[in-house]
Symmetry: C2
Subunit: 344 residues, 2 copies
Amino acid sequence: MDSGAGRRAEPTMRDVAALARVSAKTVSRVINEQPGVGPEAIERVRAAARTLGYRPNLTASSLRRSDKRSATIGVLFEDLSNPFDSALLRAVEDRARQSGVLVLAGSSEDDPTLQRELLASLASRRVDGMVVMAVGGHQDALQQERERGTPMVLVDRPPTFGETDSVTTTNRESAREAVMQLAELGHRDIAFLGDRQTLWTSHERYTGYLEGLAHSGLKLRKDLVCTDLKGPDVAEQATEVLLDLPEPPTALFTAQNLVTVGAMRALRSRRLHHRIAQIGFDDFPLADMLEPGITVVRQDVPGLGRKAADLIFARIENEHLPPVHAVIPATLIRRGSGEIPPAT
Amino acid sequence: MDSGAGRRAEPTMRDVAALARVSAKTVSRVINEQPGVGPEAIERVRAAARTLGYRPNLTASSLRRSDKRSATIGVLFEDLSNPFDSALLRAVEDRARQSGVLVLAGSSEDDPTLQRELLASLASRRVDGMVVMAVGGHQDALQQERERGTPMVLVDRPPTFGETDSVTTTNRESAREAVMQLAELGHRDIAFLGDRQTLWTSHERYTGYLEGLAHSGLKLRKDLVCTDLKGPDVAEQATEVLLDLPEPPTALFTAQNLVTVGAMRALRSRRLHHRIAQIGFDDFPLADMLEPGITVVRQDVPGLGRKAADLIFARIENEHLPPVHAVIPATLIRRGSGEIPPAT
DNA sequence: GCGCACTACGTCAACGTTGACTCAGGAGGA
DNA sequence: TCCTCCTGAGTCAACGTTGACGTAGTGCGC
């Protein structure tokens, strides 16, 4: 093992060239499988590279190449430890690997400052493109980056500016569908519990809720609407409040993952989970193992990721394609909690 | 918006220098906050950089710098969409961000070939260090990489070769503790269900199981040991087989996440989940919301990640530190399923 | 008034690679 | 025989940045 010498110097093309008794350029040709090299020279170079353990320096290569490609893309999501985000990352990674591209990943924590810094950080490393889950609020930093010509795809939330690809879910339509299913079962007092309204997805799902009520001929009860619930604890408390109303809801539409969990806790602690219906937006592991199983709107997360990756690579290949706004359908998964009729 | 011109050329130091009427070197000094530049020159450079939207090219910088640092580390885990892996990634990312370092992430899928390719891919990008979850089997590729002098930290599984840092969990000790708790409740027929035995963690947990039995004065029943269960479905079937034995187990120790879930399914489908005790290794979301709550050994995943990141940065700073093998304690979380006494 | 230290720059080359170009030698045609 | 074309190389410079070194100008002590 390395005893005292510190990090070894990596062999360069010149080292390989010297050993193979050719010029560096010939080594470059062999490495990049370009024509114009005789078979025995190729063999000598290959052998020399092998004995030296040569590995091309992509840094230098990307600096010099005319296309400036770094074979690296940036992924900027809200929180990489969130299952939704990490499933998305994995899907992007799988697609990227097919093109020999690696992924630089970062969490923006829904913080505009952090997003801006990470964006600059990615730009400094000259990534070929970026897949971004935009933070709520204004998207100035993203727009600026895009206007510099950086290939960019937004996932989960669409751009508020032009000429940029995006991939989203049928938030509104699926929320509407969920609410209509509850209404068809006879529910008339359906509560809405949602995440921060600055998030486009939250707002869309709320709109879908309103549409679902309208389509079913139900009136909106504003006292049954709770938004801006950050995290399961806040959602749990909000649910408690709803349940304490003189006319409590008979069904809950929980428009986000963590909100769903918070509401579930509240129902359980009052032993109402078999009496009050609940449909959540976003599937989660073990939702089928609870009692009752939790009915959810499931997003096609791998589908979202694949599409986002396809779009970013297409965009990298050809800057002049018209922008695409892909919408991936979500599915209602009936497991029991969403099929509870109202108590008579 | 960019109409037809393709990707804009990024401004360089020379562009900034020309606008600020200084040399490129002075721009470099200002950007890197090195001394030797007068206040008004600094201001001119800053202003020029701002108007041009200049962003340093880290690629070129890393090529030229004497330390060759790329301010990027590689993370090579088994499956980034796995909650354990993604929580680990997030912890590493947070620590890296403090040092202005970005993370190149990849999934090795426990495939030696893929791991080797990704390793080479990271090396080609000249990452400053790597945090690796080694695939099962031989670690030749990792050892070679390490012997070239690449700073490396192994997580979750220790190296089979020398001079390399690692961070692991108290797999054996915590497994032993779990089994001893079951024994203290009076269980004498405790089954072991585990993942692939080529994985070091699986083997350690199995050893802990054996130690737990021995410490409690229990004899090993080999018919109650199921290993190499890949995924929840296989685990579910294995559990069914155990339950069909003439003398079925009264308690299960499920030594991995997905195995735990599979066993839970089997118990539930037979309505035995309130009668047969179960302790799982690895916590998972909603484990507390099931009935009964699932008792688990919880690894300190953020702790593991933080430690791994600390070690890799220390190693990058100083190649000559003695290798560290950190062990992060896991905790038994009692939720009910592990506290069920044997049926009399 | 001279030397010396110090500050605030500038010049040059090089990091490892590749695009553009050159060149020697042999094949093939007029 | 001479000229052209093709193949298999090599040479050179440049990508954007920074380390090493050079230098003009100022201040200060003696």
